[in-house]
Amino acid sequence: MSTVIKGARILGDEVADILIEGGVITQIGTDLNGDETVDAEGLIALPGLVDLHTHLREPGREDAETVLTGTQAAARGGFTCVFAMANTEPVADTAGVVEQVWRLGREHGYADVQPIGAVTVGLAGEHLAELGAMADSAAQVRVFSDDGKCVSDAVLMRRALEYVKAFDGVIAQHAQEPRLTEGAQMNEGPLSGELGLTGWPAVAEEAIIARDVLLAEHVGSRLHVCHLSTRGSVEIVRWAKSRGIDVTAEVTPHHLLLDDELVRSYDPIYKVNPPLRSKDDVLAVREGLADGTIDIVATDHAPHPMEDKECEWQAAAFGMIGLETALSIVQQTMVDTGALTWARVAEVMSANPARIGRATTHGRPLAVGEPAHVVLYDPTAKRTIEPADTASLSRNTPYAGRELPGRVVATFLAGKPTVLEGKLQ
């Protein structure tokens, strides 16, 4: 069985046909033929996207999301690989749990699921989890994170960074100084004062990142900074890289587009951690992504049932979904503004996250001999976001009613279409 993708603009550039046989790209050229033909005229072909930061909620919160529904949403967003965060119930802090999540991903077949292991037992921040057992498991865990919580104890963070060197692991830190953010509800600034909501100061993020890059330098290990959100954070990472520290960083699509003025509505759909920041911070993270200080875009897809959002701000859960809108937001904020080419989008949404997470078969170039993970995208399409139109079990999108550019037309996971004509297969 062979499939030929006809006339796609590869990385938004030259037009060519892509022939896929046995899950691998076997030819790129003109006038290619196969058993099946996918017309891709006017569409951009990108390597399958990789999300280093997804919350799939299974096990434990299957009312919010499951591995099946989460990977279906991923496929609809153009992703062929997602890294599943460890803050499930039970926490993914043992080989058993990470293998369960990994197997579910393989069985469903909508995207490869790479589980992230917890750094500490139960995310409690007290004892290291069995990082080596997770690394040696069938899931081959390489990314470890207590995301949702910060590894705030400096000694524990140092030990974690040191320990994972034995198996080329990386610690992905949710940078949030806990004491500076007690009861925090939104970005600290004039608006938090005006709205009477407890502020989440930028320095609570920046102080941890500054500490962690110095720890990573001290022990010679790899650090990944999750969802940084402030100008100061970008500056610290830029400084760390200039110093040769092995640090990578991610930004979410929502921090590229939305700012804290939206909180004025007190609508908890905008409640997220880290919080939506100021307009200046939004500009800074865009600049950081454009100049390579920020390595990747990661969704922080955080599904919650509506009852956890249909309440007063303070009682609402933190988080928003984002897998199905990520590429559109990146187009709107980075490509349409001229800050990134599509080739660079392929780096920040596929090659770099795969490299950071050591997902060796993903993030590969669209080239002969490579696994056929491909997304076909129509950048000229426009769509108005309807919360009900999602594969996710949750509807907490901040873009309801917004018109976003672009549409994922097809996604191929190792040559097998997971999405065709915009529909799940």
Binding site: G189, E194, G196, L197, G199, E307
Partner: protein, 310 residues
């Protein structure tokens, strides 16, 4: 005006109309029969997610003097603990035909959320939300000041204490600015909110510096828990630096008044003899609260009766 959520939503004309209306209604309280038929047949719900007997009684008295039916719903301590309850409760009240919901809530923005949701059609009155606002308190404070000082244009009002956690300070700063008064917020730096420089006020860390020119001084309640959270070192130090004692009161101009939204910590932010002095208008503030709340309910609901039922 459909709701009263923030003192900042009121224009100068609207605020003045409320104060003028309150002045007329105040005379009702002096009559032998303290009732007007204005809101007969209308239902007002006091929805209190946070204890405040004083505020609830004030709103209840206001509604009853206007002949409205009053339902008190106290969500504190009942099965209501999850966030979902605000929606469910609102839907219940909607089903009961509430024309207005007076809401007190520990979460900032809860009244705003209620007013902008589809959960209730009635008017929403913010009776204090979290550390955000308490607009009727600001109105009754302005009413009290106006009755002693006349037009507030150009008057100097000093608000002292825990501005950071004070919904009273926020609402007062906004309303007094609208009414043309000059507001000075005095507090230790730890108790002034981030971004206060964008407020229409002056700020100072030094209470003594603003006494001589003050026409009114409003002392805010300081919770002793703030001391444990290191907002200031000790009750004694706070009281020395930011408390209003007789010596400080004597440095005020002769006409100046002393205010407090209550309940007071006597000996902490305000000396007992200051609270009981003839400059203190603290008891008047309570009386005026009923008249101001009558005016708010009357203006929110009174006009709508004929319009809707015609």
């Amino acid at each position: 005006m459909k709701h009263l959520l923030s003192a900042g939503d009121l224009s100068r004309d609207e605020a003045t109309l409320i104060l003028d209306t309150a002045e007329q209604l105040l005379s009702v309280a002096q009559r032998p029969i303290k009732k007007l038929p204005t809101l007969r047949g209308r239902t007002i719900v006091n929805l209190f997610f946070e204890d405040s007997t004083r505020t609830r009684i004030s709103f209840e008295a206001a509604a009853k003097r206007l002949s409205a039916d009053v339902i008190n719903f106290s969500a504190k301590g009942s099965s209501v603990s999850k966030g979902e309850s605000l929606k469910d409760t609102a839907l219940t009240l909607q089903a009961m035909g509430a024309d207005a919901v007076v809401i007190r809530h520990h979460a900032s923005g809860a009244p705003h959320r209620l007013a902008t949701s589809a959960w209730t059609k009635g008017a929403v009155v913010n009776a204090g939300d979290g550390t955000h606002e308490h607009p009727t308190q600001a109105l009754l404070d302005a009413f009290t000041m106006r009755s002693h000082l006349g037009d507030l244009e150009g008057k100097n009002v000093t608000i002292v204490g825990d501005v950071l956690h004070s919904r009273v300070a926020r609402s007062n700063a906004l309303l007094l600015d609208t009414l043309g008064a000059n507001v000075t917020l005095v507090a230790p730096p730890t108790l002034l909110p981030v971004g206060v420089e964008t407020w229409p006020v002056e700020t100072s860390y030094n209470l003594d510096a603003s006494l001589e020119k003050a026409d009114a001084v409003m002392m805010l309640r300081v919770q002793r828990e703030r001391m444990n959270a290191s907002y200031f070192p000790s009750a004694r130090e706070y009281s020395r630096r930011y408390g209003l004692d007789v010596a400080r009161m004597n440095r005020l101009p002769d006409h100046a008044i002393v205010m407090h939204p209550g309940p007071m910590n006597r000996g902490m932010e305000i000396g007992a003899d200051v609270a009981d002095s003839d400059r203190s208008v603290i008891v008047e503030q309570v009386t005026n609260g009923v008249a101001v709340r009558m005016a708010v309910l009357y203006l929110l609901l009174g006009g709508a009766t004929e319009g809707e039922n015609a």
